[in-house]
Amino acid sequence: MDNLSLFITIPAAVAFFIPIVSRRFRWFPDVITSITTFILLLLSLMTLNHETVYRMGNWFVPYGIVFVLDGLSCMVLIIVNLIGFLVSLFSVDYIEKIYTSKLRYYSLLLLAVTGMNGTVLTGDIFNLFIFLELALVATYALVGFGCEARNLEGAFKYLVINLIASYFILLGIALLYGKFASLNMADISRLINSTEKDVIVSFSFVLFLVGFGTKAAMVPFHGWVADAYTAAPAPVSAILAGGVIKALGIYVLMRLTYNVFGINQHISMLFIYAGTVSIMIGVLMALGQWNFRRLLAYHSISQMGYIVLALGIGTPLAILGGIFHLLNHSLFKSLLFLNAGSIEYETGTQDLKKLGHLSQKMPLTSTSSLIASLSISGIPPFNGFWSKLVIIIAAIQAGKPVFALWAVIGSILTLASFSKIQRYVFFGKGEKFNSGMIKDIIEVPALMRVSMVVLAVFCCFAGLLLLGGLNGIFGPVVNVLTDGTNLYITRILGR
């Protein structure tokens, strides 16, 4: 699997092909999107344990655009395409019932996948900006897809905050180009580490931190998360939580801090504090929410906090925990958003107070959301437990028991707010519950069930991926980050 440009060309081509063909055949967008995302998933699984540098148009390395595949990008690529595939399966019935224009929806979904794949693979910093904008423009339109007042409001807020962040990133790129006259990330890394520390480099790093921190939903840049996730269609929320904030935010932050700028004491302390504050603020704000998806959105902030905390601790064990939590968070948070979508599909509401007694009516949704809730709260043997355990052990080993304690408290509060969901939606009932409303409710259609079951099975058994520890399946991923700047430079520039 050496031709990395397929990850860009296939979804982009299909995205433009869909509006042309599907005016004639109404079934076409559903089928072709699912097939395309499935092919992308297979291709990304084929990249496992490969390391390649693909040169666009065969230009020499520091001058042309390169695509870099290493352990980290392979891992995020698999996450993005897995979530993309399951979300497109889920969308088939969901979009049919609630929204009108299927072909535009699938076109935009594929463009978002294109942008995310490109951001993950590219080794050129301006090219990264372009792919990031592509993914963001597609998701701006997807968040406002319903065109009701609340959808548009969420979309505009998402757009304004993320566009400021994008321009900060562009300014950072311009400053770096002015300083080093290079756009290749490995080349910039070589130049940064071979020259004296400089105020322009530090300033551009701060700009990148603000920009990508916004996209990674880090406190204090988290303002858009709750509104965008609540306003978007449920499958789009799932892809925002499972793909976009991972690929555009936290992945690029990892790459820039560890492989391009190089990590130091101040940056790691900054990450540790930002992560801990994110954990606590996210979970505390989630406790008081009565809207299902708004609650999940605040938990997204909190769970991203664990990953940022792990990045800040920076020992190989902590990075292992952080990366494993990245994988686990996309599995269980996408599953929870899909559950919220199924409940909305059947009952038409997201208000926890109006729901109740759904465990008998929708047994599969109930079971899978129970699995995801236990998983996100860190109950053994589900996947969330193992990654949180690794992060907490790493924090104690690194001599930071206070932050480990905060992580444990955050996890307990997460359990509290998810027992609220289970109590009000599935096993008990809310204050405004009306028994006439759930009388005709049945389980959701087959394709929606398939995507939920697949994610639930992954949540049960993903803990096994940790077998082997640092020499296991996450070994190459952790090595990319712990090797620091030098090996990244050597891998791409070849010297």
């Binding site: 301006f126 372009i130 007042a149 757009l159 304004v160 321009y167 311009a174 180009y177 509104d227």
Partner: protein
């Protein structure tokens, strides 16, 4: 000096985006930010009395390197203008739809999501 003016322009745009309540003024703020960065990129490649960076038969490559402008920022500005145009049209479309739904351009009156 000119670079500082670019930053001043950037900060003016940022002020417009963050402090104004009217959606149209927010969009104008984004335009100012975008132009300031484009100007900054163009100025990075600019050179007084610069020549076109094309090697013709007979011209000296070393002379050209020391006298020509940098073509790469110009390409970046082109791309950034195109993405900016896409986002601008999307922003304006959302603003028009918002006006239809709420009957106002004031963002402080758009608060249906919280309820």
């Amino acid at each position: 000096m000119v670079y500082t003016l670019c930053f001043v322009l950037f900060v003016i745009g940022l002020y417009g985006v963050s402090c104004k309540k009217n959606i149209v003024k927010i969009i104008l703020g984004f335009l100012i930010i975008e132009y300031s960065i484009n100007l900054f990129l163009i100025l990075l490649g600019w050179r007084k009395n610069g020549v076109v960076p094309v090697i013709e038969p007979g011209s000296d490559a070393h002379m050209l390197v020391s006298a020509s402008v940098d073509p790469l920022p110009q390409v970046m500005v082109l791309i950034s203008i195109v993405t900016g145009l896409g986002i601008l049209s999307l922003m304006v479309a959302i603003a028009i739809r918002l006006y239809q739904r709420y009957g106002t351009f004031d963002i402080t009156e758009m608060n249906k999501l919280k309820h």
